[in-house]
Subunit: 480 residues, 2 copies
């Protein structure tokens, strides 16, 4: 198909690949974790201090062991997701320190907000997986927050979820809780129940927290997404090709670590690199360059035959306004259309990651549903063209009362639960509301009618007990 | 490149083509204009009353004479546009009866509004052509409105513009005024100075106004876009393949007429078919199906080797809110990315064509500029990857002070003139404005500082005199 978004040639991709290989071999990459450095040393890689140098052979051998697609199991097996090839999952926003209220006011997030986002995920028709750290719960104990959030996810949602890669300890806790939920550690090894986000620290570093989380989670049978977020001209080169070469080196190094820990471990090649705004000096995730990075990153991941991660409904807007709608639509459409498989931040993010909003979540899940309709295959057959009806209606007639219209209208035409399709008079009688106002009402309705999915009381008690053990005395907010 | 938007197979396109050929041969199509019927008769086509029956041979012979791309000249030759292949032009909204004020209030449009939209087009960095009938000017005399609007376009804008296909008379008037502007009718014949929108009346009809406009404009050397707007389940089948077959029959019949009038006439294959909303029974142009129609239509036009037209920033939203942003971003991105060449309605439209808004215009022209950045080719070379700098900065450094960052930052990174990229504090000190409010301010600034492009006083006088003659005594609003 003709597309104006650029298709990388084999030569383009080889240039990126060769540059990345030169970076890893000659400049090396720093892993700020002793065990990781040992793992690389043991594998035969050259190591100086905490700088690891990798050859093309070492990297490609490791990468070739990674599966091109895998399944993530949910508590409800009907909600398992497949990641890779043509299969993709949409996930909520991640890591927002603040909540944006309607109108744009920001406030600190609470554990109740976190639970409410889990409830929106559970009741969403388009979000396929639950997230982690959707908002930072400011009222949780520091040592227990990851346990509170993880259990909030398990108690209120039966879709697959994300792990807790905040530290070596937190990553271990994730596996411990999963072992309780699934009846033993050995039950976790055939299919992961979580995917965790393990970012590089650009340029060319991995923090102790991220590096050790990769090791612990992979050991526990869980999938990791190794992703870079490089800002052009700041944490990476000013050019798009330069950033692609740098992030490729970082991602491949992280994925190599995962494969050394456990050959064949399910992993994802990820990036949300974007532009630095030249006026403010801050990251712009509403920038058109974000969609270019998404498209190029997907093409490079496809070259390595790896599942790919990008951002979703990303924007720099401070409230759920026209800017939020447009930037998020660009970002999410390009993620899905480019073939990305694991689309984090699909729903809720505002202000360049600084906050998450309930109204924005509803907008974005709708955008995800709309794009899913756009990419649903259409069959071109004698039956779908239905020449006989066209010839019967003829010039000047109408199709309103044709039997096929009645039969197919609900299946063929997407029906929106959020967007205005009324005329001016209808819109006025409904209160002349903008989308943010409509979404505010709908959030309330959805949370008010929420029913948690079933979970045996004994399992809930076991999980709470295990979490209490793991919290080392810190008080948990989560209740049965 | 991998895309999840569906690529039509040769077999899919053949199925559409064969169905359209069967429709034209067996069911026929009605042209409600005697001269058009005569033209078909003379060409040897079968005609019964005003129903014209066309064979595949007749259609394909005609279509094969149409150019695959052509140039439209502006008053300022530096602003000429090429339509076809990889070249595309963005145009403003068309045909809106109302103006939407900030907040969503609708009011009737005036001639001053029309002139203001021309001024926005002239000063736009992304809109390449001026439109026609951007808003219906309720204070113009009925017989003179097309003359007022056309001259407002010529006086305030030196980009190529759209013609006035409201009736046979209006189409003739367009050619007469162009002859004055360009120094004689013969000066119009090598390159058109206008493109006119000539819609079919689905299913399977052309109104007298549209049919006769095709004839008059093509005779005058002007380009015509023959387009269908079919509503699924209402003026066409409920299925997407059915609508594609029906609209293809209509468009090809109209283009055949144009080629019979003047073989080799520059023409455009167009559609903005979309879904009927099942709840309201009204047209939805924010529907995901619109983008599917755009993509499929572009692929079919490419099959016939013809320039293609679609809609642009289309939406069902009643004001410039998050819905407007998202729906317009989907529609415009898919138009540009699918390879559409003539993108009408790029900027301004709200409420399913019912109104146009100055604020929405500013949003949409920004979206057009952002997408143009996304599709700008990136060179992958040793220079753009710049391995030496990556290796010099190494792990843990930064690129802020690298010479390349200074040298390339303005060229490499898109700079927005509309979107918020400030942090929360910066956004608050700027007044905590949503995009609609920001755009309201910017519209005022741009109109206040408008300077009309040069036009010799004598030419202006000649055009006004000719328009006065053509108006048959109706008072013109346009002034020198």
């Amino acid at each position: 198909m003709f597309t104006r978004m650029q298709t990388l040639t084999t030569e383009d991709i080889n240039k990126i690949h060769q540059a990345s290989m030169a970076i890893l071999k000659e400049t090396g990459i720093v892993f700020n974790d002793d065990e990781c450095v040992e793992i690389f040393k043991k594998s035969g890689a050259k190591v100086e201090g905490r700088t690891v140098y990798l050859t093309e052979e070492e990297v490609m051998k490791a990468i070739s062991q990674a599966p091109s697609s895998f399944m993530v199991k949910g508590r409800n097996p009907e909600k398992n997701v497949k990641l890779g090839g043509n299969d993709f999952a949409l996930l909520p926003g991640y890591g927002a320190p603040f909540i944006t209220e309607p109108g744009g006011h920001q406030r600190e997030g609470t554990f109740k907000d976190y639970e409410d986002f889990v409830k929106l995920v559970q009741t969403s028709k388009s979000i396929n997986m639950n997230g982690f750290l959707m908002v930072e719960p400011s009222d949780c104990a520091v040592d227990a927050a990851h346990l509170d959030m993880f259990l909030a996810g398990l108690f209120n949602c039966d879709k697959p979820l994300m792990g807790t890669p905040l530290s070596r300890k937190a990553a271990r806790d994730c596996v411990e809780l999963l072992a309780v939920a699934y009846g033993g550690r050995d039950k976790l090894m055939d299919h992961p129940a979580t995917v965790s986000l393990c970012n590089s620290l650009s340029p060319l570093q991995f923090s102790e927290e991220m590096a050790s989380s990769i090791v612990e989670l992979v050991r526990g049978g869980q999938a990791v997404c190794v992703a870079a977020l490089i800002m052009t001209g700041s944490s990476g080169p000013i050019t798009i090709p330069g950033v692609l070469a740098l992030q490729n080196a970082e991602i491949l190094a992280g994925l190599t670590l995962a494969q050394l820990v456990r050959p064949g471990a399910p992993v994802i090649y990820g990036s949300t690199s974007s532009a630095m705004d030249m006026k403010s000096g801050s990251l712009s995730i509403g920038a058109p360059e974000l969609s270019m990075f998404t498209s190029f990153t997907a093409q490079i991941a496809q070259h390595y035959n790896l599942p790919c991660r990008s951002g979703g409904g990303l924007c720099d807007a401070m409230m759920t306004d026209a800017q939020a709608g447009a930037e998020s639509a660009f970002a999410l459409f390009n993620a899905i259309n480019s073939g990305v498989n694991f689309i984090l931040h699909t729903a809720g993010i505002l202000g360049g990651y600084i906050s998450i909003s309930f109204e924005k979540f509803l907008l974005d899940e709708e955008l995800g549903a709309m794009i899913s309709r756009m990419v649903r295959p259409t069959a071109f057959s004698d039956e779908t063209i239905d020449l006989a009806t066209i010839q019967k209606v003829g010039p000047g007639g109408h199709y309103l009362t044709e039997p096929k219209t009645f039969k197919l209208c609900r299946k063929e035409i997407y029906q929106t639960g959020l967007m205005n399709r009324q005329n001016y008079e209808g819109w006025q009688s409904a209160g002349s509301k903008n989308l943010e106002q409509v979404a505010t009402d709908k959030v309330k309705e959805r949370l008010a009618s929420f029913v948690a999915p079933d979970m045996p009381a004994s399992l809930k008690a076991d999980l709470l007990q295990k979490a209490a053990e793991l919290s080392g005395g810190a008080a948990l907010k989560i209740k049965a």
